[in-house]
């Protein structure tokens, strides 16, 4: 059965994350929000009326036995000036799994139903408070793992992307006005831009902006979605320790990703402000064992997907054929070579260095995971390596995947339009089809149909009419 989305009923959910904190918030939205509040809330000073957007102090009381559940602050916000554009109630209770759960149960008992994930935002979108790109920005905001990602999401929420897309749409409309006027008013004494000028407009004023957004997606992706960092090396060179060290180093919130294969361990961390997925490829070596062989193939696949591979060797032991074999797999992808365990003395560091020369490796970093030697240098190197091939500045506006695909579609339409314009006898009706295609692709980004009246623009631009 499909989940019941968006009906007139009132929805409620705990709005704060699980875990210990001083305050937990329960949010209620819909027609019944206020009457539900009245059923379970007893204000400190008895009152019938509640003013909108004001905090009230009082108690949550179980209407079944009049028992006090918690001491709370509540606010009632009358529509339409609310998040969902419906009546909204928020209850600020003491945080604690049991208390919040108990209050939520009372809210359900009083007439609300549990909100689906994202349903508050969905209502905001359906009620026309935000456009599609803003709705997506809210999701991004919630899932932002770093400050940069947060800022990018915030920019989109503020409508910066929509704003830019609207400017592009206006420019395309100007071009369409020219093309359509040439078609519909051939007998009029009006000056219409020559095809060359249209092509210049598209090439100089529109395509570069679309292309820059597409590029921003690629560059900004690492800030929003993070990078994947694969640790490679033969067993017992210190891969797991390095992983733990990188995790600890940044004191990141560690959330084990469920469903990890038995071959890999994946953890999320933050390195120099970048969200990072760390992958430990335990047990990588050439093998005859079939089960292990599958593992090796999988590891090679991970190399391909990785943004960066950390290739780790143990200098307390002499270089081996196995090290070399793994390096052969790694060297074709972006990687850093790390000489680990330099704290153990004596070691084979000098022999390793000779070997590296032989393997034509010029850049490497000597570290000790155990003694935390050069780990700060390592994180800096990782950051530099990741960002060196990208723009030095973080782009202001970064579209998400859906938006990028729409931008690519718009670009394709425009390239087709240019192809037609540059023919010896361009057909305006075909140019118009492509421009209209580009316009509707751009409109998809903000989830808006093009409602601009093309004709009003034609008439305000040209004096038409015999």
């Amino acid at each position: 059965m499909q989940p019941k989305l968006y009906t007139e009923d009132t929805i409620a959910a705990i709005a704060t994350p699980p875990g210990k904190g001083a305050i937990g918030v329960i949010k209620i939205s819909g027609e019944e929000a206020f009457s539900i509040l009245k059923k379970i809330f007893k204000p400190f000073k008895p009152r019938e009326k509640f003013e909108s957007h004001k905090l009230y102090y009082g108690f949550i009381v179980n209407p079944r036995d009049s028992k006090i559940i918690d001491e709370v602050l509540v606010v009632y916000m009358k529509k339409p000036k609310t998040y969902t554009r419906e009546d909204v109630v928020e209850i600020y209770a003491h945080s604690g799994y049991y208390i919040l759960k108990k209050i939520l149960e009372l809210v359900f008992f009083a007439g609300a139903r549990p909100a689906q994930p994202g349903e508050f935002t969905l209502r905001a979108y359906l009620n026309g408070r935000i456009d599609l790109s803003q709705a997506e920005a809210i999701q991004e905001l919630i899932y932002a793992k770093t400050e940069t990602a947060l800022n990018l999401a915030l920019n989109n929420l503020l409508g910066k992307l929509s704003e830019k897309i609207n400017i592009l749409r206006e420019k395309l409309m100007e071009i369409l006005v020219q093309v359509e006027s040439a078609i519909d008013f051939p007998e009029e004494d009006i000056e219409i831009l020559e095809p060359e000028n249209l092509s210049i407009k598209i090439k100089k004023e529109i395509l570069p902006i679309i292309e820059s957004f597409i590029k921003n997606y690629e560059e900004g992706k690492i800030y929003k979605e993070g990078i994947s960092l694969v640790i490679a090396g033969k067993p017992n060179v210190g891969k797991s320790s390095l992983m733990n060290a990188l995790l600890k180093e940044e004191r990141a919130i560690v959330t084990p990703v469920p469903g990890t294969t038995r071959d890999f361990l994946e953890e999320e961390a933050t390195i120099e402000g970048l969200p990072v997925k760390l992958i430990d490829t335990a047990g990588l070596r050439e093998t005859e064992d079939i089960v292990e062989k599958i593992g090796v193939e999988r590891a090679k696949k991970k190399f391909k997907e990785a943004d960066l591979i950390l290739f780790l060797v143990d200098v307390s032991k002499p270089p081996s054929e196995e090290d070399f074999q793994i390096y052969q797999e790694v060297k074709n992808f972006p990687h850093l070579v790390l000489l680990n365990k330099i704290d153990i003395i004596p070691n084979y560091l000098e022999i390793w260095k000779e070997k590296l020369l032989e393997w034509k490796i010029e850049n490497f970093l000597e570290i000790s995971v155990k003694e935390h030697i050069n780990l700060d240098k390592l994180t800096k190197n990782i950051f530099e390596k990741i960002t060196s091939e990208r723009a030095t500045e973080i782009p202001e506006i970064v579209p998400n995947l859906r938006q990028k695909l729409a931008l690519e579609k718009a670009k394709e339409f425009l390239l087709n339009a240019l192809k037609e314009i540059e023919k010896p006898n361009p057909l305006p009706e075909l140019i118009a089809i492509e421009i209209r295609g580009a316009l509707s692709s751009l409109s998809e980004i903000i989830g808006e149909v093009t409602t601009e009246d093309l004709l009003s623009q034609i008439f305000s631009t040209f004096c038409i009419g015999k």
Binding site: P186, N425, E429, L455, G465, K466
Partner: protein
């Protein structure tokens, strides 16, 4: 003609007559108004076998061209060809009475090429009257309808000023500018339906009483000049095409019967603009006397001068009004300025320095009914059996009116026969675009057709209007045997030539000399003709000399198939879009849907949907201001409340 006053009290659907009323015969269809809409409506209905009555205020003005004497143009020519393919009259009439024919946009692609003709407007009127007088089942009467007779929200007849009552199962109202018509010349104004005819005020009031929401539009026309007083030596001459491109598919390859004459071009001057600017305080438009919204496509000269002050000159076409008259129409200077200003202004124009005005230009305001109050069939939502066509629905233009008249006449007849109405969709015809725009978006300015209004412009061409619509016309009984056999022949030839081009391979040695001559890349291996013709520079006409098999086809067939080939990639794309469109159109919205029960719709949206009552999700999406979010809300609601029932 058998028109008789038949007392038929037994079958009188109106019940007992009031004292002093004369009840006359019962009709299947009554058409009010004999303009371009009324003509097509009454012809379609009577040709479909309905006993039809046409009532007009003036029998001398059937098919009058009250504005410029021309038919067709971009978008409009498309409409005329569609009317023709469905068995309408307009194309045949203009072919017979046209005195100049041109194809516009010939340098652009075939989809946006269109035909336009200058008419001998007196002969056009005579010709229309002659046809109407000879069609079986059609009765014509002069009279002014003052009241609609209605019982239980159903039309049952009309009443005239002379208190005659006519019973009818359906009524088509096509009153043009007559509803509360008010003519302005300078600050003078007087009630009139058009210069020389009384307005139709009672009917307008009656419509209002019945609950129709009326609006006010303004249109205008130019002064008519004495052609003998024009110095043509100062003007640019513009001839028609040779051979003249006729409109009707029945007249393919024929020549127009009337001699062909030129038009002339001149321009306004700075002096003209100064005269106009100085007189704006005596303009009914600028002093606020005229309240109706004007046509943006045909603005008055004062409007053009005011809105585009930087434009140094405005173009004027001097068009003959007919072969036997001295009257000419200076197209481009429609005005409602006072008569003395008209004189001064016209005489400031090169070539018109000594021009004599025969009839002054004037502005006219009239009532219209916001077309969201009618259905796609053109039947009103309020009163069953009552149809509106033409300017009453907020359109401007003879062709737009005729297209609606045809559909209203057809649907009135189908209503009588208790059959489903004919509704052409946006992918089938410009007529479909026109009506869908009107009933979906309404209009707050006079609506004129442009090709840019059609999403599937490459599919809706003048040249294939017959392929799109003849079969529909035949099923309705409007396409005669001659037209039908021409259509079948064209279809067969197209199939044959397409097959030939797809199957015939040509070798490099055969074609490379030609390709090199036209600067096209020579072939390395053999290629099918169909593929070769995809090249924009390769013209099928040029291949006729090389490939004798092509000689058996007329140039129309050749260019038709060439269009399909040259556009083919795009046509396929548009066809895919049409499929998507049809899918959305097929997602029907229940007629009784209560939009106030749908959560998540703003009140504005609820009002909009309740007023327009879209028949499908597709139509709902086209309503201006409707957001995708609102559409989602409707779909979610439907899923919840309706899907479980089936």
């Amino acid at each position: 003609m058998k028109i008789g006053v038949i007392f038929n009290i037994k079958t009188n659907p109106l019940g007992r007559m009031k004292l002093g009323m004369i009840f006359l015969d019962n009709f299947d269809v009554i058409v009010i108004g004999a303009g371009h809409a009324g003509i097509e409506a009454c012809l379609a209905a009577s040709r479909m076998g309905c006993k039809t009555l046409l009532i007009t205020v003036n029998l001398e003005r059937i098919g009058a061209m009250s504005c410029n004497p021309s038919i067709g143009g971009i978008g409009k020519g498309h409409l005329v060809k569609e009317i023709d393919a469905l068995g309408g009259e307009m194309a045949l009439a203009i072919d017979e009475t046209g005195i100049q024919f041109r194809k516009l946009n010939t340098k652009k692609g075939p989809a946006v090429r269109a035909t336009r003709a200058q008419a001998d407007r007196f002969r056009y009127q005579e010709r229309m009257k002659r046809i109407l007088e000879r069609v079986p089942n059609l009765y014509i009467k002069q009279g002014l309808v003052t009241r609609l007779l209605i019982k239980d929200k159903k039309i049952i007849g009309v009443e005239t000023k002379a208190k005659e009552q006519f019973g009818a199962k359906t009524v088509v109202i096509a009153p043009g500018t007559f509803l509360h018509g008010l003519i302005h010349i300078g600050l003078e104004h007087f009630p009139a339906g058009r210069m020389g005819d009384p307005p139709s005020n009672k009917l307008a009031e009656n419509l209002k009483e019945l609950g129709f929401e009326l609006g006010r539009f303004k249109t205008g026309t130019c002064a008519r000049l004495d052609g003998r007083t024009i110095d043509y030596s100062k003007l640019e001459i513009q001839w028609g095409d040779f051979p003249p491109p006729l409109f009707s598919f029945k007249n393919k390859g024929k020549r127009p019967p009337l001699p062909q004459v030129p038009c002339f071009i001149t321009y306004t001057t700075e002096k003209t603009h100064k005269i106009i600017k100085n007189a704006l305080d005596r303009s009914p438009l600028f002093t606020g006397k005229i309240k109706g919204r004007g046509v943006r496509y045909c603005p008055s000269i004062e409007d053009k001068v005011f809105r585009f002050p930087d434009k140094e000159r405005h173009q004027i076409f001097i068009e003959p009004e007919g072969l036997d008259t001295i009257e000419v129409y200076p197209n481009g200077i429609s005005t409602s300025l006072p008569i003395d200003v008209q004189w001064e202004m016209i005489r400031s124009i090169p070539g018109l320095e000594k021009a004599e005005i025969l009839r002054p230009g004037y502005g006219i305001e009239h009532d219209y009914v916001n077309p969201v109050q009618i259905k796609h069939s053109l039947e009103t939502k309020l009163i069953s059996g009552l149809f509106f066509a033409g300017q009453i629905n907020g359109t401007t233009g003879y062709e737009e009116a005729a297209a609606q008249g045809l559909i209203a006449g057809i649907n009135a007849a189908l209503y009588v026969k208790e059959e489903e109405p004919l509704i052409l969709d946006r992918s089938q015809a410009y007529i479909g675009v026109l009506i869908d725009d009107l009933v979906t978006k309404g209009t707050d300015e006079p609506y004129r057709m442009f090709t840019s209004r059609a999403e599937y412009r490459l599919l809706l061409r003048e040249d294939n209007a017959d392929l799109r619509l003849t079969e529909i016309g035949r099923k309705l009984g409007l396409v005669d045997d001659k037209r039908w056999s021409l259509y079948l022949d064209k279809k067969e030839k197209l199939q044959k030539i397409t097959q030939f081009l797809k199957e015939t391979k040509i070798s490099p040695s055969f074609i490379n000399a030609y390709l090199e001559k036209i600067g096209s890349t020579p072939l390395k291996t053999g290629i099918r003709l169909y593929e070769l013709l995809r090249r924009p520079e390769v013209e099928i006409q040029a291949l006729v000399d090389l490939i004798p098999e092509l000689k058996e086809y007329s140039s129309d067939i050749l260019s038709e198939v060439e269009t399909e080939i040259k556009y083919s990639g795009y046509i396929e794309k548009q066809l895919r879009e049409v499929e998507k469109f049809k899918k959305l159109e097929s997602m029907k919205l229940p007629e009784d849907l209560n939009y106030y029960e749908i959560p998540g719709l703003s009140n504005e949206m609820r009002e909009k949907f309740s007023r327009i009552r879209p028949t499908s999700i597709g139509q709902a999406m086209r309503i201006p201001g409707v957001t995708p979010a609102a559409i989602s809300a409707i779909q979610i609601h439907l899923k919840k409340h309706y899907s479980s029932e089936d």
